[in-house]
Symmetry: C2
Subunit: 437 residues, 2 copies
Amino acid sequence: MTPTDKSQSPLRLGIAGLGTVGIGVVKIIDKKAALLEARTGRKVVITAVSARSKDKDRGVDLSAYAWESDPVALAKRDDIDVFVELMGGADGPAKDATQAAIASGKDVVTANKAMLALHGQELAEAAEARDLVIRFEAAVAGGIPVVKSLTEGLAGNEIKRVMGVMNGTCNYILTRMEETRQPYGVLFDECAKLGYLEADPTLDVGGIDAGHKLALLAAIAYGTQVDFDAITIEGIQDITLDDIEQASELGYKIKLLGVAQMSARGLEQRMTPCLVPATSPLGQLAGGTNMVVLEGDDVGQIVLRGAGAGEGPTASAVLSDICDIARGIRMATFGQNASALVAAKPAIAAIPAPYYLRLELEDKPGALAKVAFALGDAGVSIDQMRQYGNDDQYPDTSPVVIVTDACMRSSLDLAIEAARKTGVLASDPVAIRIEEV
Amino acid sequence: MTPTDKSQSPLRLGIAGLGTVGIGVVKIIDKKAALLEARTGRKVVITAVSARSKDKDRGVDLSAYAWESDPVALAKRDDIDVFVELMGGADGPAKDATQAAIASGKDVVTANKAMLALHGQELAEAAEARDLVIRFEAAVAGGIPVVKSLTEGLAGNEIKRVMGVMNGTCNYILTRMEETRQPYGVLFDECAKLGYLEADPTLDVGGIDAGHKLALLAAIAYGTQVDFDAITIEGIQDITLDDIEQASELGYKIKLLGVAQMSARGLEQRMTPCLVPATSPLGQLAGGTNMVVLEGDDVGQIVLRGAGAGEGPTASAVLSDICDIARGIRMATFGQNASALVAAKPAIAAIPAPYYLRLELEDKPGALAKVAFALGDAGVSIDQMRQYGNDDQYPDTSPVVIVTDACMRSSLDLAIEAARKTGVLASDPVAIRIEEV
């Protein structure tokens, strides 16, 4: 058994990327050498590092490690066993260096969700052909051991649904909108000031970053090839304070929720704003914390909650993968042979759900009845309806909120079209899925 | 890499114990043979089974498996690779058969928390001496992959605290007491009728079952020898409706909470009723669900929630261990070499906390002032105090609830003794720790 063999040679790491996470990993390996050796049965050592600027002060002493200005050269070094890729970016140096690492027989640990969401199948096949592993716990939901829980902890389950709030910035904005009653734009600016946003903020608020994570979990859950392009992605940019408050009145919270679910029609992957019950674990998740919900046929619902970003949590996940490799744990990239993963048939809007509808009606007699009739005629039945007054915000119109019974999105779209034709809608309706959790 | 080698021989299981969990495992292996093979790269097959009665109708066809009436004989069979122990019981047949399995070179998967809490060190050393593994995901918190998350997912962390609500029956009783405003005895009887209680109900409501689980997590978290006897255990039998309601008024819920925490004074392990903030994940946990909170120096707080018992969830955890073995994952029983685990110095009441105090005062002038003075004099300061009236329930006395500032339990005990000496206490005070989460 690997952990009992104290005579083993050290596990030698080459770390590419010395930003927050990279430095976090260096610090842990420096500080906890004895703990890591006790737990894994091997010394874990850093041999070489690479980053853009050698001279930058990163607050840690890197002088004991060889320096490579080129991550590809680092990946190819004969004196490393594991290439730790913490540069980021779907293509370019990260991918080049990862490919070079595999070509030269190195295991890979990465936090790079974009690279794996777009090139995961190709990289997994390359690694498998050489009996190497690519591990990526840090790529999904930061410190939460969700890749491990899904791949190994739930290995005996047919997965029924994977859900997750996996972008802390989006959840922070939505939570703060409700707390402060300030609109999206104000909170977006607050996040920008606090440094919570990616260089391209669309990655966060547009749902792309969280979409990358969902694509990885879906591949593991369903034994399918990672297929980021098949995800229906909507960001939170259009969520209004009004929707958040109306949802709250109805007992819901609005979350940027990722859902991957297999049905007879195929694999549905969505990263979109959804209403979830306020009393559910997802509904209670406030602020920048992440949560993933895994549903298996035998295990039922497992909820995992923790920090989704930051130096410590992300470095912790990187260390989890490094320790696995040190312990001799060899796991296929997506939990099973890459060559056996099938391309899932993508399904879009194939699973019925109730919807939240917000309509602004012209303040005319019979307007509400006309809309209700149009919805019913299109086969969408109404579970709840609330007209919430004619206040200053809407001097000449009546806002109405409707919760429908579960229906197909296509039926809802037909119903909305029919409602439009009544001529009593003062503005475009807002429709948000309610995910039953 | 193990998972890619399709040519491997099947992994052959011998299952001892065909109760709810054992039959659950048989069903999964029957039904999901293809899925398990795809995920692990090996066929997983049952060779032989054992239980007390061969003729009992268990609702599944067992005719394809060899039958052993003696679990020790099963454990020794040459045609099994893994002995799956699902009989239960700290000693007796479960331990005999586990020892026999190890002696004859078999890996062990077990759901037996009592056996491991009491004999884990001895069994782990025996397994290690023969390069075998003992895996026990199902022994702690049912379907929640907590052993894996702690051992592997948080391997890079120094663990700061482990907390858990790990007995669903106790949490069900406490939740229902608050919901129905019925006393403990009534809800205990309800649980008995529903079949929620162990044959010896003290295992549940006395905190022993949950204590076994805590002892296992503590050993993994701190690299110490499992030490069940060092746990301070109190059950929920004395929790009154009054305490639940007063706690609720103050913004807390009462939970049977396990806490393992290392301090300079040693390893403190408690399984006792505690107040936790109502808005925390632990506070929000209603009904029979389990929750474990893992705190690491880098990862921060990770919360895991799911079903802690039942056929599907427990069998799911057993399958997780079986799949790990099929995948070639070899993990030391408590996450590091058994021979290197140290005996922790037990610490009792070494960590300060605020306390909830409920006192019944004689309805005399100055009674409250006397008690407040006695507490202060003993060095316990008061954060909140509420006198809640002189109703029918207490015709001649005044009930008072106090929340103290954080203090040592020893100081609190001195303070309570001093309060007693004032002569104004009409009954024994109730003191419950408030765990800050």
